[in-house]
């Protein structure tokens, strides 16, 4: 029991040194026990004694006799005592003892049934002052938070120059034994240290919250620049702030702090946890350079516009960031304009995101733990499909039960009534709910850190499951990391971090969600025995071909059937990253830093389709051996990134210099191999070993790419009296992706700024901040395939000639290939009023990209259809606005309001002949099956890449239910012609952004965030695909029945219900795209100290986050076509021991 007492004492103390002292005392007590006389007897709880001048030793014997309490004491100690006069009757033991010891130089404590006699200092002493020779007194005081006025619990109070101290109690009060006049240092995490002079009486200490050290600097990855004197455009967000918006998706959170960082929402992929987000910053600066495939506006690849991601000094992929644990993030810095990014040269044009992870803190072993439990539920509220009765009615109206082929009208009618009887019997399957589920995911992160000034260590462990709302899909992440830093002296710091991550991404075996939306509600999903049916219906279809294949039978297969099989589709990767850095502080001003990181990542994809799958249902009997397939793919990625930077920081009078110069080397290899096997005997043997053969006419596929980058850079930040500042940076980059004649290219930037509020005339005014900044520069981009500058041969490996293997030229290499260059212009202003209680900042930028890499069409007589050339210009202009206001504040309450908006205009200034040729091809494709109703991407000079192209329409003719189009010459027609296609709308919103309040009340914090987008136009694909072009054999949007034209005189939005011909793109489907979404609600509570300290914790916070819970839009459209969107609710606990 003594032991327990001592342990509590340890816990109360925040400092390791006092703990050591306590442990020493504990040992002393045990040793002492050897010299102690021990006696034991006694029965009563009260004491009756009347004695005069009795030595304590005798009195103890008496008390023992009466109470049975045993005394522990040292004879030497008792010699100091003097005898007492005592006269008590039936007093409690404690009262008696208090009386006895009152005037003695010793005191006592009761532990269980033992009374320990010891020196006046209490056994578990909060104060240790024995060494003092000058008498010390108890100094009392209270510590409060200057801002909120609340007591600060657990603050350290230390006598300056000594290791003695205490901590404040639950009410923020402390008692320390110190000599009056000494200095006490009061400190607490998150507050600035305060020195007070000890004096008798009550001290009142107010702690000022310290600013986050990271909040005042901009980390560019190569240097740290004071925010105040930086002219570039950078946004810094801490890891905690990120977690507050979305605890599971960091990229999504960044967006909320800066809407120019846009994470595109994919309407096809919905909330699939395995779809990597497509991100772009300040608009698109590249054109897609794909294989010339026609692009719908959905599959427009965003990846060419990805920003560069830098993690602790080395470049990482977006997937790494996506799979990172936000708990490990100290802060992220978003670099946007040239002044901020030019130091990254050829990788800078799309912005740079710099991520810094937490470094281990000095001190005793500390363990932090956080748990996030996430529930996601599918959001099907945007789907409005017909029910069984209505669906059958629609089929009748659409003329599906007219005679077709060899089925007479009677046969068809019979079919209709058969279905009708099903409906009347109550079959009304809600197919949408079949492949989805409410999913629960967990995340456990554990972080251990500690060490001293020389050696510090950190170990993190993570286990995270993120199941998706489609059954069977999910992404599981496991991580293990360690950081070790070693600083042998003040000159050197070495740090090594090693992380191992494994991610398993599973796709749902249930297939595309769209196939469930299309299922008719009158189909039963199981037979009478409860087995899932594979074929639920078959239609006889008139293909309108004038030949023997005019009528064909089309089976309706149950998409759920695949889910009952052992199909799987999963990609795993395991990643090792080792990053080593060495810092050499040559002088106070000069520092040399080297970073080397090695990344190894190995992906494996296994995709098995059972031979019983729907995909093989229609195989002819001769191909039965080919049913079932297995796709296997491995990718090996090896990356080395190294840099050496020399930093120079010096204050010379009024001048401040911050210079970084260095070199950066990067190599990146990617080795991919895949095979496809077919022919499986049954559903159970899913190993590739059971495959019958390789896929027909296939051979193993492999691809190996290697790219290298070398850069040398210089970046200078200069400020004069913190009033006037300038930034200058330059980089010379060399890349293997470019032609021999252009292996290197220079980049630069220049920025100036003026802190107007530092001028005398604004001192003591209400304007607390007024900063003006401007920058310009040239940045580049290399996000394209390697080897495009090389003439390359490919081997006909699967097709040997009789005289050997052949090789043939596949690309015409352009040795003159250059970088894509972007001219940046950026001006901005920051304004803070009333001590920054109202803070406003605005930015205007222009990005002019020259030499867009594009395909140039060649006359085919050259032997090639196209080659890569730098041709084409694009312009992005935009405005970003940020507003922060502290609306209300008192002791308990703080109410803040933040809002940020951005707008980006994109304009194609010049394009290559290839893109013009592409447009012609698009015209051709527009008429083809499946694409008639989809506005295709076109490139026209003067238009934006967000422009929507369609034919102008006047709507539906009430007379006959046909659509009236307007030709280019203004005449009206019923005939759609691809030549009449013109720009009819722009998807660019007037602005998009986030806003919401942030309220704190005592220990509660509430953060609400709305997203909005307005002023843009969008083509409502649902109206076309699911109302007009919908195949009446499948389920459709409910507006089919209500809003389509049925009889002359109907002023309908949609054409004649009985028309089954295809609807072509027209501006009839263009609608306003105004959206308001409640993206995040965050509520947290920090427990009081007395509660968590009882649980032996250093802090305890619980929080609840809701994401994507509510949405309203001017456009009613089906969202989440292949994978539904999800609403998610996360409960988190964060603590440390």
């Amino acid at each position: 029991m003594i032991f327990t007492n001592l342990c509590q004492a340890v816990r109360i103390s925040q400092r390791a040194k006092s703990k050591t002292i306590l442990v020493m005392k504990l040992t002393a007590v045990f040793i002492l026990a050897g010299f102690l006389q021990v006696s034991a007897a006694g029965f009563s709880q009260t004491v009756t004694v009347t004695k005069e001048n009795i030595p304590l030793q005798k009195l103890f014997r008496e008390i023992k006799k009466q109470t049975g309490y045993v005394f522990f004491y040292n004879m030497r100690l008792l010699q100091k005592t003097h005898p007492v006069n005592i006269d008590v009757k039936n007093k409690s033991l404690r009262e008696v003892l208090d009386l006895v010891f009152e005037a003695q130089p010793v005191t006592y404590s009761i532990v269980n049934k033992t009374i320990v006699v010891n020196d006046r200092a209490p056994l578990p002493p909060p104060v240790v002052t024995q060494v003092d020779t000058v008498p010390a007194v108890d100094i009392r005081g209270g510590v409060i938070d200057e801002v909120s006025g609340t007591p600060v619990v657990g603050a350290n109070v230390v006598i300056k120059g000594s290791k003695l101290g205490t901590v404040t109690d639950g009410s923020g009060n402390f008692v320390i034994r110190a000599k009056p006049g000494t200095t006490l240092v009061i400190s607490f995490v998150g507050f600035e240290n305060v020195n007070v002079t000890a004096k008798v009486g009550s001290l009142s200490v107010k702690l000022k919250p310290s600013k986050d050290p990271m909040a005042d600097v901009v980390i560019t990855g190569y240097q740290q620049i004071k925010k105040e004197s930086f002219t570039g455009n950078a946004v810094t967000v801490t890891g905690d702030e990120l977690k507050r918006i979305n605890p599971t998706n960091m990229l999504q959170s960044i967006q909320a702090y800066d809407p120019s960082f846009q994470v595109a929402q994919s309407n096809l992929l919905g909330s699939n946890p395995n779809s990597l987000p497509r991100v772009n910053l300040r608009g698109s600066a590249s054109l897609p350079t794909g294989g010339g495939d026609v692009l719908t506006r959905n599959n427009l690849t965003g990846n060419v516009n990805l920003p560069t991601f830098i993690l602790d000094g080395y470049e990482v992929s977006i997937e790494k960031v996506y799979d990172m644990d936000v708990n490990r993030v100290q802060s992220i810095t978003l670099l946007k304009d040239a002044a901020a990014t030019a130091v990254y040269g050829s990788r800078a044009a799309n912005g740079v995101l710099v991520i810094t992870t937490k470094a281990p803190q000095e001190g005793k072993l500390q363990l932090s733990y956080s748990y996030d439990g996430t529930m996601s539920a599918p959001d099907l509220s945007d789907y409005h499909v017909l029910n069984a009765t209505d669906k059958l009615e629609y089929e009748r109206l659409a003329g599906l039960y007219k005679a077709v082929g060899d089925r007479t009208a009677n046969d068809q009618e019979e079919l209709y009534y058969k279905k009708k009887s099903n409906v009347l019997a109550g079959v009304n399957t809600y197919w949408l709910s079949q492949p989805v589920r409410t999913a629960f995911g967990h995340k456990n992160s554990l972080y251990l850190e500690g060490g001293n000034a020389t050696i510090r260590y950190g170990i993190d462990l993570r286990y995270q499951t993120q199941p998706g709302v489609m059954k069977g899909s999910g992404r599981d992440r496991y991580g293990l990391g360690s950081v070790l830093s070693y600083a042998p002296n003040k000159k050197f710091i070495f740090r090594n971090s090693l992380t191992v991550t494994q991610v398993t991404a599973k796709e749902s075996p249930y297939g595309s969600f769209a196939s469930y939306v299309a299922m008719n509600p009158y189909y039963p999903k199981t037979d009478s025995n409860g087995h899932v049916l594979q074929v639920v219906d078959s239609w006889l279809i008139d293909t309108r071909l004038q030949d023997s294949s005019q009528y064909k039978t089309q089976n309706v297969l149950n998409p759920m059937y695949n889910g009952t099989l052992s199909n799987f589709d999963q990609t795993k990767y395991i990643e090792f990253i080792d990053a080593f850095s060495a810092d050499w502080n040559m002088t106070n001003a000069l520092r040399l830093r080297g970073i080397a990181s090695v990344t190894k990542r190995k992906y494996t994809t296994d995709r098995f389709l059972s031979p019983l799958s729907n995909e093989f249902y229609n195989y002819e009997t001769s191909r039965l051996k080919e049913r079932g397939s297995y796709f296997y793919n491995t990718v090996d990625e090896n990356i080395f990134d190294g840099s050496l930077t020399l930093n120079y920081n010096k204050q010379l009078g009024d001048h401040f210099l911050n210079l970084a110069t260095g070199v950066n080397v990067q190599t990146n290899s990617n080795d991919s191999k895949s095979i496809m096997a077919i022919g499986f005997s049954n559903d159970r043997f899913t190993n590739i070993a059971f495959a019958n053969s390789y896929a027909l006419n296939s051979s193993p596929d492999a691809n190996y790419t290697l790219q290298r980058l070398f850069g040398s850079f210089m970046s200078l930040n200069y400020s004069y009296r913190n009033k006037y500042m300038a930034d200058l940076s330059a980089r010379l980059d060399g890349s293997s992706k470019f032609g021999n004649d252009n292996k290197t290219a220079p980049f630069w930037s220049f920025g100036i700024g003026w802190n107007v509020h530092k001028e005398d005339f604004l001192m003591n005014s209400n304007i607390s901040t007024l900063r003006l900044r401007a920058s310009t520069g040239l940045t580049g981009q290399v996000n394209f395939e390697p080897y495009q500058s090389k003439t390359t041969y490919d081997y006909y490996t699967s097709n040997w000639y009789s005289t050997g293997i052949g090789a043939s030229v596949i690309t015409y290499g352009n040795e003159n290939l250059k970088w894509q260059k972007t001219d940046n212009y950026d001006v901005g202003m920051d304004l803070g009023l009333f001590r920054d209680k109202l803070y406003f900042s605005a930015r205007y930028y222009q990005k002019l990209t020259h030499g867009l890499l594009a395909d140039i069409i060649l006359p085919p007589s050259t032997g090639f259809n196209s080659y890569k050339e730098n041709l084409g210009d694009m312009k992005n202009t935009g405005v970003e606005i940020n507003l922060k206001a502290t609306a209300f504040k008192n002791r308990d309450w703080t109410v803040n309001f933040t809002a940020n908006f951005s707008r980006n205009d994109n304009k194609i200034v010049r394009i290559s002949n290839a893109l013009k040729a592409y447009n012609d091809k698009v015209d051709d494709e527009q008429g083809k099956n499946g694409l008639q109703g989809t506005p295709l991407l076109r490139y026209r000079e003067g238009q934006s890449i967000n422009t929507i192209y369609a034919v102008h329409s006047l709507g539906i003719d009430p007379e006959n239910g046909k659509e009236i189009f307007v030709k280019k010459d203004g005449t009206q027609t019923y005939d759609w012609d691809v030549k009449d296609i013109m720009p009819v709308g722009d998807n660019t919103p007037f602005a998009l952004g986030y806003f919401g309040p942030n309220v704190s009340y005592k220990r509660f914090l509430l953060n609400v965030l709305f997203y909005t987008r307005f002023g843009g136009k969008e083509y409502n694909q649902t109206l076309v695909d699911r109302i007009e072009n919908a195949d009446p054999r499948f389920n459709v949007d409910s507006r089919v029945l209500s809003d389509r034209w049925k009889k002359p005189g109907d002023h309908a939005l949609y054409k004649d219900i009985s028309l089954t011909d295809k609807t072509f793109v027209s501006d009839r489907f263009i609608q306003k795209d105004n959206v308001v979404e409640l993206q995040s609600v965050y509520l947290s509570y920090d427990f009081e100290k007395r509660l968590y300290s009882k649980l032996s914790m250093r802090n305890l916070r619980v929080s609840f986050t809701m994401n994507d819970i509510w949405r309203t839009s001017s456009m009613k459209t089906e969202r989440g076509i292949d994978y539904p969107f999800a609403r998610s609710f996360t409960f988190s606990i964060q603590t440390s021991l």
């Binding site: 060399g734 390359t792 041969y793 000639y801 090789a807 030229v809 085919p860 032997g863």
Partner: protein, 487 residues
Amino acid sequence: MKNYIWFAIVVLSLSSCKKWLDVSPVSQVSEEELFKSAEGFEEALTGIYTNCTNMNLYGFELTGGLPEVLAQNYSISNDEFLHYQQAVNYNYKDRFYIAKKDTAWSGLYNAIANCNLLLKNLETHGEILTTDRQTLIKGEALALRGFLHFDLLRLFAPSFKSNPGAKAIPYITEFSNKVTPISTVTEVLTNIVNDLQQAKELMRQFDPIVTAGYKVGYNTDNPSTEEASSSLFLQNRRHRLNYYAICGELARVNLYFDKRTDALTNAMEVINSNKFPWTDAADFINSDPKVKDRIAYKELLFAWYVPNMSDTLNTRFNLGLKSLIIEDNACQALYEVASSGGDRRFQQWFKLVSGASSFNWDELQKYQRDPDKNRHYMVLPAIRLSEMYYIASECTYESDPAKALSLLQTVRSVRGIGKTLTVANKDELLQELVKEARKEFFGDGQIFYMYKRLNRPFASLLGSSIPASDKVFVMPLPDNEIEFGNR
């Protein structure tokens, strides 16, 4: 100062990094890498042949596709699913037709670009090869360049006979993205003859086929001298442009160029070499598909090796009304079954299929294979021995009509036509030659060029006459060629 030094080091090191930044692909091969080894040159040459055997070029389209359709050799039904319905009527605005001929144009020029890149590297790095190998590769590359240009000329330019000075096609001799100006028909032909002539001289001394030990035969023969060489590259000379194939091509080109003496010399060189034996009737008609020789393998001076093409050809010729078929009556008329029966080609190359409503058609069996075992490799004919006889016959008539007739008669009798021919004049001979060639070249893609060369009207299957005109004979250049080449 320190920083300046630092920066200087950086800049210096950067210049030495240029080599480090020079990265070569691994799963593909860069031009420099490929031509660092002797094998690379061989592979680049072989690659051109493989390239040409894709189904948009000689693998199907230029052999059994467009030229045959335009020569009215097929009865195209409404069901036909390869989209020749418009091409057969010379509707050159049809998008399917445009796609087919544009693909052929760009494919042939891509193969030519391969030839030019190979020739360029032979000039610069050829010294790593032995002289005989270097000469052989150069000869074949030049010959291929001529061969491919000749087919482009025959497809996309007016015939020499109708308009020798007409703008024809660009003759590309350099690997570059620069536009080469268009030459006239005469210029192109001159260039082709030059290339082929040069190739012939180079090949004469080094081509194994010229040696007496190289005996043409079936690859299943034991021993097969065609596969005797220890180097795979030197085997099966007839699958590549060998010396005699070049002679044959020269005969062909010179005849088109109206240089009959040269044509005759070259044709006779092949005939007199006695390298290529006629196919035994017993092999031709053998009922066992495993030892049957339908395409007269031994008579092929040059053939494309297409082991993967069986399925493709099957779907093009043997899927009933969907495929390229010939109405039985028309086929019988074409082979003059009534008057000169016993033509083994008719018997062996066509399979009668009876359709509904008494419509009977024949499906081409020329390229049918046994799935397991065959007498010879799957090849598509490019130059046949019989063509040499036809050329010789045509070129001899003026000087020796009897010899001319006997040359023609030789082929006819080999094919089982016993009836002797008599002709009154050159025109009658030409008429017989055309009829004979149409029978011989059915599905070979050659007869169209003969019509064009002679610039004569020709008969459709229905018996009507198609007038000789550039509207029929000349394919328009691809739009991309006109637009981006400023044609």
